[in-house]
């Protein structure tokens, strides 16, 4: 009954449901949230995301916000970034976090996994060149290890870091280096001393996180959302 009700109010939900796999209820709830975030303007901008208080203390806030404006995540085989998104695009990005359905074939499960890993890959690969270079990977570990620096670009952070902070940064760099070396070892096997490992391609990334069971880990429960918790 509830589904039919919302259906009659919003016929476009059918399209969205088909496209993203959400149920009508979930789309309704997310739409409400979208309107709330965008102050009923109809499109979301980066500034709107920055207004969310809880998100401010997240160390990888910048990357998360960027992910919403990254065209590669819209399933349209396009790349680049845009400055505003509408509800459909918002929903498509959110659909990456849907839990996998109960009965999936191996192939479907593989597809789901690939999609989620693609999302992660896009988050790391900030310059859209299809590989995660060492610098980009370093950026990942550095940002995770120095939380709480809000809205400060990376260059300024480097200057501001105190001695203990720079030690952390050095370790962060070494961690990224070690991780990169691991990827290279797993993917490439043997390399001559003068060969150079360009960066992590998507295939290597898949291989790396093979046993990670990302389809179940990278899911948010959209089940139990009710409107009351959204009032903020």
């Amino acid at each position: 009954m509830g589904a039919l009700q919302s259906l009659s109010g919003h016929p476009e939900y059918i399209d969205l449901a088909e496209k993203t796999g959400f149920s009508f209820e979930q789309i309704g709830v997310l739409h409400k949230r979208f309107k709330q975030l965008s102050h009923n303007e109809g499109t979301l901008r980066r500034a709107h995301f920055n207004e969310i208080p809880d998100l401010a203390c997240n160390p990888i806030r910048a990357q998360i916000v960027e992910a919403f404006f990254d065209k590669r995540n819209f399933h349209q085989n396009d790349d680049g970034t845009i400055d505003e998104i509408n509800f459909e695009e918002f929903l498509v990005v959110m659909s990456h976090f849907r839990p996998p359905a109960l009965h999936l074939t191996e192939e479907q499960r593989g597809n789901v996994r690939k999609e989620k890993l693609r999302f992660l890959f896009n988050m790391h690969d900030t310059d859209n060149d299809g590989t995660i270079t060492l610098e980009e990977y370093r950026h990942v570990s550095i940002s995770m290890l120095s939380p709480g620096r809000k809205n400060v670009p990376l260059m300024v952070v480097e200057e501001l870091l105190s001695r203990s902070g720079s030690l952390e940064k050095e370790t962060a760099k070494s961690i990224a280096d070690a991780a990169m070396l691991e990827v290279a070892s797993i993917s490439m096997g043997h390399m001559e001393p003068d060969e150079f490992y360009e960066g992590i391609t998507f295939e290597h990334f898949l291989k790396l996180l093979d046993g990670f069971e990302i389809e179940s880990k990278m899911s948010v429960r959209f089940l139990n959302m009710d409107a009351t918790t959204l009032c903020k």
């Binding site: 997240n58 959110m94 109960l102 992660l120 570990s141 952390e168 070690a178 070396l181 691991e182």
Partner: protein, 777 residues
Amino acid sequence: MHLRSLPELGLLLLAVFVLLEGPVPSLGASNCKETGHGEGADGERHGVGNLNRTKKPFPVLSLEYDHIKTPFEISLWVLLASLMKLGFHLIPRLSGIVPESCLLIVVGLLVGGLIRLAGEDVPPVLDSKLFFLCLLPPIILDAGYFLPIRPFMENLGTILMFAVVGTLWNAFFIGGLLYAVCQITAVKLSHIELLPCLLFGSVISAVDPVAVLAVFEEIHINELLHILVFGESLLNDAVTVVLYHLFEEYTVVETVTVLDGVLGVISFLVVALGGVLVGAIYGILAAFTSRFTSHTRVIEPLFVFVYSYMAYLSAEVFHLSGIMALIACGAVMRPYVEANISHKSHTTIKYFLKMWSSVSETLIFIFLGVATVDGDHSWNWTFVTVTVILCLVARVIGVVGLTYIINKFRIVKLTTKDQFIIAYGGLRGAIAFSLGFLLDKDHFPMRQIFLTAIITVIFFTVFVQGMTIKPLVELLAVKKKQEAKRSINEEIHTQFLDHLLTGIEDICGHYGHHHWKDKLNRFNKKYVKKCLIAGERSKEPQLIAFYHKMEMKQAIELVESGGGSKLPSAVPSTVSMLNIQPKKPSAPKPAERALPQLTRGREEEIRKILRTNLQKTRQRLRSYNRHTLVADPYEDGFNDFLKKQKMMELEKKIKEMTNYLTVPAASLDSPTMCRSRLASDPQAYNMKPSLDGVPTIKVDLASPQSPDSVNLLDEFKRAGQEGREDEQGLMMKPPAEPRGANQHGKEDEAKDPQKLMRCLSDPGPSADEDEDEPFLP
């Protein structure tokens, strides 16, 4: 031949014990009487006037058994248990087919039988007090301290459902149906009332952690199933305690009202939460205490043990759930204590816990066997068979029903195979028996029937289910435990995902699991860690701590594998750091090394010293399997290693090995390094600040096994070989200043060899020859 002699030795030993038990007490008693009599007579005469003192010859060798009787018996039992364990693992075929618990019960039966045959009374070994106060706590503490928190918390809802609702269901189903069966007059059991039946049901329905641990450890199923069944067995203690006391009380009174039911529910909450609270308080106390132990490292493990035991006892005082207190204490204190204590203490704690829990478990099973022989059983075919069948049926129905409900809330659903394993893995054990043993004979005249039935169920689950679960797991192709090493990429991505999912939840405005988990983590980091962790470690992010752990582990593996014949488990690729670094426009010239030019003689001396100091190391296992804790594949290779030729191989391999290491240089200032140094040395050890511009090779005095000693080996190889292209690509090098600044040339080189020699020949104040393995991370 030699192999078989050990179990025989054990049997011989206990035969000796049995024989001793018989004649000796009488001997000891008579001896005492004699001397006592003599004393008394003496005193009398002495009082009279010191006349006619009869002189006995001074007893050169006398036998007085009584005053050491109890410790002697205890030691003998422990020795028997340990020898049995030893024996089983020497017979590989047997331990593959039959789980250890079964074998131990059989041994117990044999021992009990032997004692009976010798005409002696079987000692009441499975005395409930002994069991609950001495035998059970080590096992639970071991389980709680090494509980994998993340999977436990992720599945907490499921575990609680199984533990609480499942146990309740089992208890009432079994109790109720048993009562119904007993009422059938043909069975002649109508004297058993409803409440005793329910009590029996509650006792028999609890899944036993000891039995589950013993069996599941050997089948290596995947982490999810392991934690579900094991978690259930731990948490159902609260339910069992409440039900047991409830029914015990009310059997006396014989009426139960609704109020009593409500009180029961409240009591359950109090018992469970109270137990956890008590445990948490003691855990925090222990963590806080460990903050100040940097100067008395030797007694650090003691704090862990004593605080945990106190938590258990305190909970038992108030009839709260001691098991939950113990688990909470161990789980709460662990992250903070591990950050504070030295590596050696950590190893000590681990080994002691494993040792105690292992011995405890062995003893419990043996005693089960002995107690079986002992008790005067009253066997009633109907009762027993109905009980066994009902247990199985109730378990299956319970699991299937609960899973149906649980799957609605889980992301990773439980499949039918999972459900089968969960149902089949519901083993009963000694806790049920001890609880039955505790029953008062006066209030419960049917105690013997109950005990017989309990023992039968235990035997059935342990033998039948325990033996067949392994082939069934193979048959059903249940997912096994992944042996994959935890890689740094996975760690990075685990954390990354945590942050990502928290962010997404915040964007949705949905206060989900990740949101609260994140809040808890932040609270932990901001306030709790500052209080409970000493010094700099309180600020160390988890990723860095993990990374340092990995460094240490790889360093140890490197040294260890150098002595053996196999390569370490590191990826056998020739990819090195060189391939990763973006090409610099002008590679820095391979700078001259500050390495001292050693003469041949010196080199030989160094080699000899290294050879004698390099000791075998043991590979660390991630699992908490107490049987295979110590895996020593390289032990045999060690003897060969001492030969000179192998030494050369070692050097060559280490050169190759350095390409495989995936971790770059460990900064000597890193907290882990600091701790390792401090740990080996009783005195706090200060790092001398390095003078700028002077290339120094710092060799740590504290322990020759430290990664720095590997450095030296490494350096020796490179003496004479071309320098590296890329300085950053070196493994395990000391944080020397860029090698280009070698202006102080010869002077330092002359000094350095001396320094090196001195360092090497003197391993340091505390590192002695027969010191154990270096710390395990």
